[in-house]
């Protein structure tokens, strides 16, 4: 076969050729394929190996992240408290005329009975400095707690009752074994004497470790044993609500207009390019914009979730618009034609047929945007949501902070106990994110099940 190209199949030549010639050529093809086969399989094997390595590396990093967060943070879910028999004498809460009024209860010195109760445990402690060291075991929050108890139940006045309150964070940390007592005494926050007293209290069964409800019910505090994330959770909730209520309708309406109604000209092209660019703008820039426009021009309150929500709306809008447009584009044209063919108007076509089919994609985009907003810190720093807010915000206009900013604030705090708190707050934030993503998946499934 003197064909110029041995690979070209020439039927006339093949028909003319003898069977042997044809088989020779087939064998050569097979041989060529065979020779290359090993290399091809090797390449495939190599590629698979790269994949496995990549997955393993990713899994390892995720595991490291979770292990480090959980191992640091789990202790924050427990709290050490002390139970002391306390007596609030009538004299202490009475006013100058010897009467007990709401006002006299509010202004009484509740630290005194607590200190007395503690001193009663250690009669041998006498000197002023030693007594002050002893008082450090009690949390600053204990006297507020006592005041609340008396306010709620004035019958307790003059009677001895047992009060359980958190110990101060240094002793909480000591109880959790995070203070090394072999370190020279002047290098640690708990002295030998304090450690001895604490041990004595433990032996008397007055110290117990319980679940830390403060973490989930309190706002922020300078005292780690009193600090909680509830304020930040409520702040995050209001912020996200404002974001969702603004960005979903605006985003979907913008996407529907651009995709279905807008004429295709250079203006809409320009808008499209700008929306895509906005998605890539660093979020802190939106924070600056919020500061300049919402706070300075419109005079909205500082640190308020409503402003945070507005800023995060700006940030999530491009995400939602892009996802919604993609979802609208993916609705098959045959459905549109079917609707128009029976005489549906354009709006009817969109609301009855296109939107329901695009909804899963839109919801996914929205929830991804919301999850992004939930984890956002930088723009909120610019509008003052980084403030130290103790009160639980009562509405979107109250000063508040959000979960990631709370994490940032705690990570910045010097007290040892805030290390665990930071990790605990991260765990809560991650739990919320996982919950939101699960909601996204469920919602999508639910909508897609309508065939």
């Amino acid at each position: 076969m003197a064909s110029p190209n041995p690979n070209a199949y020439d039927p006339a030549a093949a028909a003319a050729a003898e069977g042997t010639a044809v088989s020779t050529r087939t064998r050569t093809t097979a041989d060529i394929v065979n020779a290359g086969l090993k290399g091809r399989y090797r390449a495939e094997k190599r590629f698979r190996m790269y994949g496995v390595i990549a997955i393993a590396a990713a899994l390892m990093m995720v595991t490291t992240l979770f292990v480090s967060i959980v191992s640091k943070g789990y202790t924050a879910f427990a709290i050490t408290s002390i139970s002391l028999p306390v007596t609030v004498e009538r004299d202490l809460v009475a006013n100058a005329e010897g009467e007990i009024t709401d006002r006299s209860i509010a202004f009484a010195n509740y630290a005194a009975p607590l200190r007395a109760a503690l001193e009663a445990q250690f009669p041998e402690v006498e000197s002023r400095s030693e007594r002050r060291a002893l008082y450090e075991i009690l949390s600053d929050g204990a006297s507020f707690q006592l005041q609340r108890m008396i306010e709620e139940n004035p019958d307790l006045i003059g009677r001895e009752f047992t009060m359980t309150s958190p110990v101060s964070s240094d002793f909480d940390v000591l109880n959790k074994g995070q203070i090394d007592l072999t370190v020279p005494e002047n290098m640690r926050r708990v002295s030998d004497a304090q450690a001895g007293w604490f041990e004595a209290l433990q032996e008397r069964g007055l110290i117990e470790t319980t679940f830390n409800t403060n973490l989930f019910t309190n706002g922020d505090s300078r005292q780690p044993e009193l600090a909680g994330i509830w304020g930040a959770v409520v702040g995050s909730f209001y912020t996200l609500m404002v974001t969702l209520l603004l960005s979903f309708p605006i985003g979907v309406a913008a996407a529907v207009y651009l995709e279905e109604f807008a004429p295709k000209n250079k203006w809409t092209d320009l808008i499209e390019v700008n929306i895509n660019n906005l998605a890539a703008v660093p979020s802190i820039v939106f924070g600056l914009l919020g500061l300049a426009v919402f706070l300075q021009v419109f005079g909205l309150p500082r640190s308020a979730p409503v402003v945070g929500g507005l800023v995060l709306t700006l940030m999530t809008l491009p995400t939602i618009i892009i996802a919604s447009r993609a979802a609208l584009k993916s609705v098959p044209p045959s459905i549109r034609e079917a609707a128009l063919g029976v005489g549906a108007s354009k709006l009817q076509m969109i609301t009855h047929h296109v939107l329901p089919l695009a909804m899963p994609g839109m919801l996914t985009g929205t929830i991804i945007g919301m999850a992004q907003a939930l984890g956002e810190t930088a723009p909120l720093l610019m509008i003052g949501m980084v403030a130290f807010v103790v009160d639980i915000p009562g509405g979107p206009m109250d000063p508040a902070t959000v979960l990631p900013v709370q994490i940032y604030l705690w990570a910045d705090s010097p007290e040892r106990a805030f290390v665990a708190k930071t990790s605990a707050a991260i765990m809560v934030l991650l739990a919320f994110l996982v919950f939101m993503n699960a909601a996204a998946v469920l919602l999508r499934k639910k909508f897609e099940r309508r065939w």
């Binding site: 045959s334 034609e337 609707a339 128009l340 063919g341 029976v342 005489g343 549906a344």
Partner: protein
């Protein structure tokens, strides 16, 4: 014989560039005689897709209560022309339609004509069965509901049942009316689409290759259905199958490269075509 089509394709743009395209003389009888009133009449209809001149001056009358078939090779403009009749080309931004198309003497491209009303009068069945992703009942009920043709549940149910019955689908689906329309077989889906179209009681039904995605048995059922529907509706069908055109239609129009080459009684077109292109096409020498 394949040389004919490319040669024509090359010459056509040149002619466009030099002078306004002279409408090709149509062989046969595209227009009805005096005394006969067409249901749809088109005069000098041109369609441009951007630069592309897709329909080049079509003059054609469509008779009431008849099946008119459009045949021709792919890309000849028969679907484009069909979509002009209920202004489905409006949805394509770059499409531009000139000329005059009248439905019962009323220009459908007149500004005063509402496209929603037009499409309620001129229903359409598409190439690919495209039921809504809703229940069989909802598919058929949708049209009457949005137009407010039926009031109350009973009336809608009556319309749905009679439409499904006329589309020959009722016996097959009457126990599954709440099941998704997309779960039916291809032929059933297409009949569902026909039921959906006739539920609005249109005067004209346009069918764009309704059987091209169906097997021969489903096709036979649809053809039977078209023959029955002819009594009450004016039907225009685009088809690639010449046998189908011969079976279901009374009049046939042959399109080639945007021109209406020949139009006449189906029997005459298939037995005694007057234009050499028609002859070439129906004898299978090109297309």
């Amino acid at each position: 014989m394949n040389t004919q089509a490319p040669a024509a394709a090359q010459s056509a743009p040149q002619a466009d560039a030099q002078q306004p395209p002279a409408p090709q003389e149509t062989a046969g009888a595209p227009l009805l005689g005096p005394g006969e009133t067409p249901k749809i009449a088109s005069r000098d209809v041109h369609v441009h897709y951007g630069e592309k001149h897709a329909i080049k001056g079509v003059n054609l009358d469509i008779k009431e209560n008849e099946v008119t078939a459009f045949i021709g090779p792919s890309g000849c403009g028969k679907s484009t022309f069909l979509r002009c009749l209920n202004r489905m080309n409006d949805t394509i931004d770059i499409a531009r339609v000139t000329g005059r198309i009248t439905l019962d003497g009323q220009d459908v491209y007149d500004k005063r004509v509402d496209v929603v009303q037009l499409r309620a009068r001129v229903g359409m069945v598409f190439q690919k069965p495209n039921p809504f992703p809703k229940s069989i009942f909802e598919n058929v009920a949708y049209g009457p509901r949005i137009h407010g043709i039926a009031r109350g549940k009973d009336e809608i149910e009556d319309i749905v049942m009679s439409s499904l019955d006329r589309a020959g689908l009722l016996n097959e689906v009457k126990d599954y009316l709440d099941q998704p329309g997309t779960g039916l077989s291809g032929g059933q889906q297409q009949r569902l689409c026909i039921a959906r179209a006739i539920a609005v009681s249109p005067e004209v039904i346009l069918m764009d290759e309704p059987c091209s995605a169906l097997d021969p048995i489903a096709t036979a059922k649809i053809e039977e259905l078209i023959d029955e529907l002819r009594e009450n509706y004016t039907i225009v069908i685009v088809t690639h199958s010449m046998q189908q055109a011969a079976r279901v239609s009374q009049r046939t129009a042959f399109f080639h490269l945007g021109n209406l080459v020949e139009c006449g009684d189906t029997e005459q077109i298939f037995t005694n075509p007057q234009h050499r292109l028609t002859q070439g096409y129906i004898t299978g020498r090109f297309g």
